[in-house]
Amino acid sequence: MTPSPDHFKGKPVVEHLKEARERGALASSEIHGTEMSGSIAAFADASKEVAIALLLLWVILSHFFPLHTVWPCLVLFSAGWILWKTTRSALLGWSRLERLHRVIEEERWEIEHHRAQERTELAEMYRAKGLTGKLLEEVLDILMADDNRLLRVMLEEELGLTLEAYEHPLKQAFGALLGSLTSATLCLLGLWLLPPFGIYIGVALIFILSATLSAKLERNRVCSTVIWNLAIASLVVGCIHFLIPVIT
């Protein structure tokens, strides 16, 4: 059975497996989550969060205060929020890296000190994949022969981790900075040029851009992602808008 060349798209099998695992990791992340790595994801996530925060603030403040007093509040809030989103992204990136390094160290220690248990774990994993008897024993012997290879196998197969799949926290934070800066600029510019509806147009544009980017990144349906994101934003803002008279 010769594998079809199309299946690997001209890449070596190892590269193909790595990409498949990356796809698996990406699929198990959530777009709204902070665990999704990468500068583009950080850009999409930060831009959306800044836009919705600014809009909510605008809806609430504009109900109680005149426009000229709300305006500086929004600018000041934007500056603080941009800094928060950027530094938070870096902090989460470093925190994840630290967790990963700790996990790798623990697994290495386990391999060095509990070889029998590690062999049992491996046997269970490969038995579940259909290997039995002599063939299973041979596979275990080969894997247990090299500690580095064993560590990689355990990280990938036992812990479901993918090596060389995360970007540096600083690069990720730069994505978040760019996203939040773009979002704040577009929303405030909208409000400045076309008050009071400009901010709604700005937020809608940011949501469309961010949702499209996320959908493309996750290979989800663009139209459906954009509509649901806009619907959620409308629900959130509409909810605040109608709650104000109920509460006050």
Partner: protein, 661 residues
Amino acid sequence: MTSTGPFIFDEFFASGKEESISPFLTQTSRTWGKNLPLKTALFSAFLLLLSFITSFFLPPLSSLLLLFVYFFAGTPALLGAIEDIKNLEINIDVLMTLAALLSVLIGSGMEGALLLVLFELSAAMENMVSDKAKGTLLSLNRLSPRFACVVDAEGTLFEKAVAEISVGTHLLIKAGEIVPLDGTVVSGSSFVSLLHLTGESHPIAKKSSDTVPSGARNLDGTLTIAVTRTSSDSTLSHIIQLITQAKDAKPKLQRFLDRFGKWYAMTIISLFFLFAATLPLLFSMPYFGTDGGIYRALSFLIAASPCALIIATPTAYLSAISSFARRGILLKGGIILDALAGCKKIAFDKTGTLTTGRLTCAAIETLSKTPPICTPDEALSIAYALERNAVHPIASAITTFAQEKNIPPAPLINFKAIPGSGLTGTVSLNTKNTPVYIGHAEFIATKIPSPLESQWQTIRTTLQKQGHMSTLLLIENTLFVFHFMDTVRPESASVIARLKQDLHLQPLMLTGDHADMAHEVAKKVGIDEVHANLRPEDKLTKVAAFSSAEGLIMIGDGINDAPALARATVGISMGKIGSATAVDASDIVFLNDDLSLLDWAVRKSRHTLRTVKQNITLALVVILFATTPALLGFIPLWLAVILHEGGTVLVGLNSLRLLRK
């Protein structure tokens, strides 16, 4: 690992990646996704009710609740409408969504929300019915094996995926297993059944160097075969390919409402734009504001999208589907009812459809030059003793025949089964131990006494011409020929008569069987048009031609019928006797194999179509005589509302009539 066994993936993909059975979710949390659209629609309805109540004393809270209704019911509707527009399809769904969402602009948010909720509720209920049908079908076993037991050069046995097995590989097939790939027998002998593959109910003996097709069931012995075709070229794959081609070639079924809805939606939307653009010019009114042209055009658009029109089709379909289900008939969607009502011809497969697919012993013939060694009843007693431990259809037919005649099995010693050939034993006849042999002609041939040879050959030729099956019992110099035939279903003749006389459907038979046998059955059941000796591809060609010309209902059960069932205007399969492939390919499944319900089903489908047409007429009457005059100020608004809601209730009640048996 038990929760994510291999079956869950099959079920998941067959369900169209239904999240309520997603393998990535925990078993306990999967129920959250079950019937989610229906739960959402019901929740939206509840919120709408709350919104209506609170509108009298707390309008801001009412608006807040309405916002949630628009979010839950409006977003999916909007997505659907955008998908339709992307496919350049302006239909009734687009019109309804547009009207519902735009109603907010003229301060009729509550009416818009009601449209959306009814819209979502109807769609969710229709989905639930199709999902239930899918669920029932998923429980049926699949025929095609995924693994085969490979025998390597050293005689070691191991399992391998069928898709990875190459030509020349030796496979071991045990009794009761399905042959996974086409091959040639290299060792062993056995009877195999092609019942699910070709509809032939009699077992066929296979020995060394005979060919066996994939999909055949090995009945008694163990066979080792050398693979002659890989999975992509095998008989089963060929049929699956034909099914795929047939499904692609089948024209997309359309609901009556879809055909009507297309031009209606286009007309109303065009008129909306026309009114918005021309009213201010014609009547010197402004474009914007409550007295403006756009406001009037919007009012017209909303008035032309009544609730009655939304529920006209789904309620009728749901009532009919429920009525079908109570009779043990499974419909894979309401749309099939429209197609069923429009068909002019009805084609039947023979074996398993017009006949029961079970063999019955018709007669026992005695061949002997000297006085026979025993009577036919004694011969039956011996045959019963031999066959009562065998599993194939001929053995069952002999056992049943003996039991019906209250004949006990003769005492038997030295019993021996020769897989793929027959059975032997010794009985005591006239105080003498006599060897007896039963089996197919080739097994007995070498043992037949020469004076009986010519007599047997004459009978054999007649039997072959008639398409009848036989088995031989040899007791010393006497040969007993057991005749078998497939039994015609008792209800076949009467149901065909009703289809012809009452429903004016033209019946015909499409079968792969011998022409003489096909004509014999056709005559018994009252079918004049017979097409026999058809291969699956021939059946497909004929079905395609009839379906395109007049609309064809095809009824079948075998794998060989599956392409024809997939291509016919409406394919009907038998749930019990039918192969899983045929059930998958068909649109309607008779779960209890009750053919007598056929005319009822056609009649009910025609009744459903009539009800849909009545409902649409009622909805249009509401627009014509209530909503539009109210907009123009001819009748008061309260009267318009009563007429509008009354129309919706009438449509619902009219549909409920279909629930009656």
